[in-house]
Amino acid sequence: MQPVATDPYSRSASLVAVVDADAALCQRLRARLEALGAEVDAHASANAFLASLAARLPACLIADATLPDWSAAELLAELQRRGLDIPTLVMAASGDVRTAVAVLRHGALDCIEKPFIERALATHVAVLLGH
């Protein structure tokens, strides 16, 4: 067994995990998400995010396609391997069709080009807030 909180009660309905090495982007997303009523947990790498799961499972995940340690597709595969079904939005570079296809194949809910991510949050608010 992985030391991961799989108990449904440890899933926080309003907790959104943001994983991106860009601290400024994390900050902007935090402000937007908090305005929507979400609680935000930001991490700079896939490993930091995975380590956080032992404490609490987020209602959803917003991950950069290319994290310093892993790709988002690899991260999705790892979550699947651990039996964790976390609705995930992936942020890709503009025009990165290959990544969009890869992450959707790995079960991502959506893939959004980075310039449009803040606008896309409103579309996904129900998922973000665990409804």
Partner: protein, 205 residues
């Protein structure tokens, strides 16, 4: 009934693309059928034919995404590999969210396309095997008498013979006889197997 060989259906409005894909797929021994438009494909469409669809996104008339939608409405199970010259992220996301197996951009390596097509063919094969298995289970279920059907429902809900006897107002011995007939008609090797078949057939509850 013997399955027809799997066919790769190529739908692209560009003559040169159709020709080159036909040659490529033939060179690796895959049966190919090409259509110059989504409508031409639909006119020839036969749900019994196994295979996969290699579909251009942008075509005059019905687009590839529209054809995907039409096929979904028709409950078609043919896996789709999209190819496109000028794909964008929202288009790729839409195609994948609607169940495409893959979405690849030109120019692509021949081997990449062949790999994706083989994955799609394997998926179609597995889907069709699943459907055949389901049909076989449903046919067996139809051979049960109404009383045997009741016993099947109760047995697969995990009820003991004694409880079933009480529920149906018959003797425990009668339940045992029905139960044995159910196992035989369903060709079930164990209770777990019987339960799995009922779940696969989607006939629970």
């Amino acid at each position: 009934m013997k399955e027809k060989p799997a066919t790769v259906f190529v739908v692209d409005d560009d003559d040169a693309v159709r020709t080159s894909l036909r040659l490529l797929l033939k060179s690796v021994g895959l049966p190919v059928e090409t259509h110059a438009s989504a409508q031409a494909f639909l006119d020839a469409y036969d749900p019994e034919r196994a295979g996969c669809l290699v579909l251009d996104i942008r075509m005059p008339g019905m687009s590839g995404l529209e054809l995907q939608q039409r096929l979904t409405e028709m409950h078609a199970i043919l896996p789709i590999v999209f190819i496109t010259g000028h794909g964008d992220v929202p288009m790729a996301v839409e195609a994948m969210q609607h169940g495409a197996v893959d979405f690849i951009q030109k120019p692509f390596r021949d081997q990449d396309l062949i790999d994706r097509i083989n994955q799609a063919l394997e998926k179609d094969n597995a889907n069709r095997a699943g459907l055949r298995e389901r049909d076989a289970i449903l046919r067996r279920m139809q051979q049960l008498t109404p009383r045997e059907r009741e016993v099947l429902d109760l047995v697969t809900k995990g009820k003991a013979n004694k409880v079933i006897a009480g529920d149906l107002g018959v003797s425990q011995r009668t339940v045992e006889i029905h139960r044995a007939r159910v196992m035989e008609k369903m060709a079930a090797s164990s209770l777990a197997h019987l339960v799995r078949m009922v779940i696969e057939a989607g006939a629970t509850g």
